[in-house]
């Protein structure tokens, strides 16, 4: 009962805090090994100084103000908060309960779908991600049903692979980024930061069955968006030529065709990557690739185009005919070619913690350690245009800071403290409360009383 009371007290204290403006507090995290990802580099024992939610100094010899709250990190490792580069977190709860899934548009729209409106700051998965050191999520919509957490053996196999007429929209919708801070009522930090699209087998299925159709449909959609942008007035008077897409979809594509909004393309086969690179150059689009299992085969072209890649660091099976070239070396080879790489987990529940382990795994297969740390912190921030605020420990940035028991990429390491915008986060979650409730020991009353 004591534990419960203290939790309630903590919760109410937290909600009070969140109602206030950011506390004018100075925090000094001292004595830890710092992996800054910023100009300060790696420091074997140093200080991160936080004031009013921002980082004000990082270094080995920082003078700590007298009024600062001291957080002792000696023997521990301090890093920027992890950034999930592409996830359904905050818009997905239980994959097999469709009502809890808001990561895809369904049948009524494509590009116009705006994932920001489904973001739920009270998702039970957010605390789980947060205690795993994740402080920021880039929420990217998916085509069709979201997630991939289903198990091979659960009887839910679906090889139908085709879509009914009227569902054909290659565009999955608009990307948002959300903070994972506790106690916020509005988690979206920035909406409309990208447009998601599937190519390859998935895109082809939406386009009616083949890749050629997908690319042609994509081009015509973008050309329609340009045409619509020049002819809004005519459209409103019914004097424009007809478009297969709605006004909302076309509006959403305008920043893409103007090169202001990056297009996140999920693509796997080397030849598909080549096609989209050419297409993006022709159309002057800003591109981000996700998946890219065969990216290493065309790494130089990707690097030359300056296109960053989001990689699932575990993907090494020829799971389909478009991933025959999958290898654990992918991240390392792309990085070596000069590509900016962000490492992600799979899209399902593992995503919460798998990103950092996948980055660690990539180290064993050719990705330098510093690049691996960057792949889960600074690089996703850079890729999504967020690096002015997050992604590294450097003065002026948000104080999203994690203190770890050791190397953040190591499986047996866990986070002991998490700060988001300088606020220390509660290190609890539904899963930890369950674990605590069923901690081995004798009791007279059922666990429900604990």
């Amino acid at each position: 009962m004591i534990r419960k009371t203290s939790l309630i007290a903590a919760a109410s204290a937290l909600s009070l805090l969140s109602a206030l403006p950011v506390a004018a507090q100075t925090i000094a995290i001292v004595g830890g090994r710092i992996l800054s990802q910023g100009p300060a580099g790696d420091i074997s024992s140093g200080t991160v100084l936080i004031k009013d939610g921002k980082i004000v100094a990082v270094g080995a010899k920082i003078t700590v103000p007298a009024d600062a709250r001291i957080v002792d990190a000696s023997g521990k490792t301090v890093s920027p908060g992890l950034v999930l580069p592409s996830t359904s977190l905050t818009v997905a709860e239980v994959e097999q309960i469709g009502d809890t899934m808001d990561d895809s548009a369904g049948k009524r729209m494509g590009a116009a779908f705006d994932v920001q409106y489904g973001v739920n700051p009270n998702s039970a998965l957010i605390p789980l991600a947060r205690i795993s050191g994740v402080t920021r999520a880039v929420v990217t919509p998916v085509l069709g049903r979201g997630g991939s957490g289903g198990h091979k053996d659960d009887g839910a196999d679906d090889f139908s692979g085709s879509f009914e007429d009227g569902e054909a929209s290659l565009f999955a919708g608009q990307v948002a980024t959300a903070t994972l801070a506790a106690g916020v009522t509005e988690a979206v930090v920035k909406a409309k930061i990208g447009m998601a699209l599937d190519l390859g087998e998935s895109g082809a299925a939406y386009a009616g069955g083949s890749r050629g159709a997908a690319i042609v449909l994509m081009r015509s959609a973008l050309e329609d968006a340009r045409h619509y942008a020049r002819n809004r007035a005519a459209f409103d008077m019914g004097a424009s030529r007809p478009y297969p897409y709605s006004r909302d979809d076309l509006e959403a594509l305008i920043p893409v065709v103007e090169g202001r909004m990056p297009l996140l393309v999920r693509v796997h086969r080397a030849s598909d990557i080549t096609q989209i690179l050419k297409f993006a150059a022709d159309q002057k689009l800003k591109l981000i690739l996700e998946g890219a299992e065969e990216g290493w085969m065309v790494a130089d072209a990707i690097a030359k185009a300056g296109v960053p890649v989001l990689v699932d660091g575990q993907a090494d099976l020829p799971g389909s005919f478009e991933t025959l070239g999958s290898t654990l070396q992918n991240a390392g080879r792309l990085n070596a070619a000069g590509v900016t790489v962000a490492v992600m987990g799979s899209r399902d529940y593992n995503n919460l913690r798998q990103g950092r382990f996948n980055a660690g795994l990539a180290v064993s297969y050719g990705l330098p350690y510093s690049a691996a740390m960057a792949s889960v912190t600074l690089n996703p921030a850079k890729i999504w245009g967020l690096s002015d605020r997050i992604g590294s420990l450097e003065p002026g940035k948000d104080a999203d800071v994690v203190i770890w028991t050791g190397d953040p990429l190591e499986v047996t390491t866990y986070a002991t403290s998490v700060f988001i915008q300088g606020k220390e986060q509660p290190m609890t979650s539904r899963s930890l409360e369950l674990a605590e409730r069923y901690r081995p020991g004798k009791a007279d009353y059922p666990p429900a009383y604990r």
Binding site: V94, G155, M297, L324, S326, Y349, V363, S364, A435
Partner: protein, 493 residues
Amino acid sequence: MMHSPLLVRLALIATTVSLLSACVSVVSVAPSNKTDVTAKTSEAAKVAVVLPKGSDPKAGPAPFASTYRPLPSQLTALVGGHILTATGQEIDSGTVIMDGGKIVAVGKDVQAPAGAKIVDATGKWITPGIIDIHSHLGVYPSPGVESLSDGNEMTEPNTAHVWAEHSVWPQDPGFNRARAGGVTTLQILPGSANLFGGRSVTLKNVPAITTEGMKFPGAPYGLKMACGENPKRVYGHKGRSPSTRMGNVAGYRSAWIQAASYKRKWDDYRAKVAKGEKADPPERNLNLDTLSGVLAGEIRIQNHCYRADEMATMIDISREFGFKISVFHHSSEAYKIADLLAKEGICYATWADWAGFKMEAYDGIAENAAIGQKAGACVIIHSDDPIMTQHLNQEAGIAMGAGARMGLPVSRADAIAWITLNPAKGMGIDDKTGSLTPGKNADVVLWSGDPFSVYSTADTVFIDGAVVFDRKDPRYQPKSDFELGQPGEGVHP
């Protein structure tokens, strides 16, 4: 009764051969009196019922018998490595000797015998081969196309008659990936759409052209059962039973009643034949062969079951019909009944923290394994996934980290059993493999470092003392036929 002495069988055949067509087998009766073998045999032959081949579930050699033969091996000494035996020992700078496919010595003061191939294991770690008790390699292979998808016979809620080995595609590239992750033994299970999914098969993770060439000699069969959401969803959507959990339970119980009846018929029949009485043989039924094999204690229950309350219900059913559940799989809520599972001697196989993807997995927690370990339960980390199977050592590391976080640290010496000895126990092969114990099969992994580190790789993998994978030697980096001539490079870095 299961296998008659060869001599008796020959005698029987000799006395009855003129009566028989070429395609029959014989139900033989073992002599009860060794002093009068010939007379007894002749007498038995008179009453032996001649059944067409395949009609007696226990006649003749077991079908689809293993043709596995160990690859060539030599006397080998792994010297100076950090050893986790999986029997609770952690030995710094020790030696493992393998000879004739067996482990012959493990310890700190073990000397390499003359003529042994010496492998310098300084700075490396040595563990038993990893065992994945929940795999669908081969039955859900890569590429994951419909043509090769053979894991779930989703046509009847009770398909105890299907055998996973008849779906295994030995060319699945996933076998090679798993071996590069240190996996030496796998239990391949049918899917979980059905109440009774069918028989599992235990495989040695060696490249082979046939599934028989991978079958683990002497490994008992398992029967895949499934609780909860999958059966009720799959059949409920077809508009038939089960569509609820109570429908599931009725389905299990009805099947066990049939199985008990079938078993009794065969037992009665054999008893009568043994006494020289006239008897009509029951009609063989593949489904009930498997279920009655469970009742006879020959086939082990491998039960997909997430929720604590459902696991308890399954234990009640096992008591009602007198069988034993070997392992609960997935078992996301095992931590809620860790004491019960420890007391019942039922292992549970789970992930570190793969959970939340459906309601029955909603309470899955990363502390599941550590809490069970503390309660004294037989804990297993499994994969159910062709990617995770390559990283079971790291999955165990994640579960260790979660235990440490809540003040329930698990030592490396104990955690290694989660992926070696405990699955071997759950599969009934712990007398043959699963630990570095003299006399057991030399299924061994030489790791680049601490196996619970994200940075460690399986550098050399031995099965029955033979090198089956070597990260640095292309001669020991097998590739599936499927991967030849493809843009990938196969598994190996």
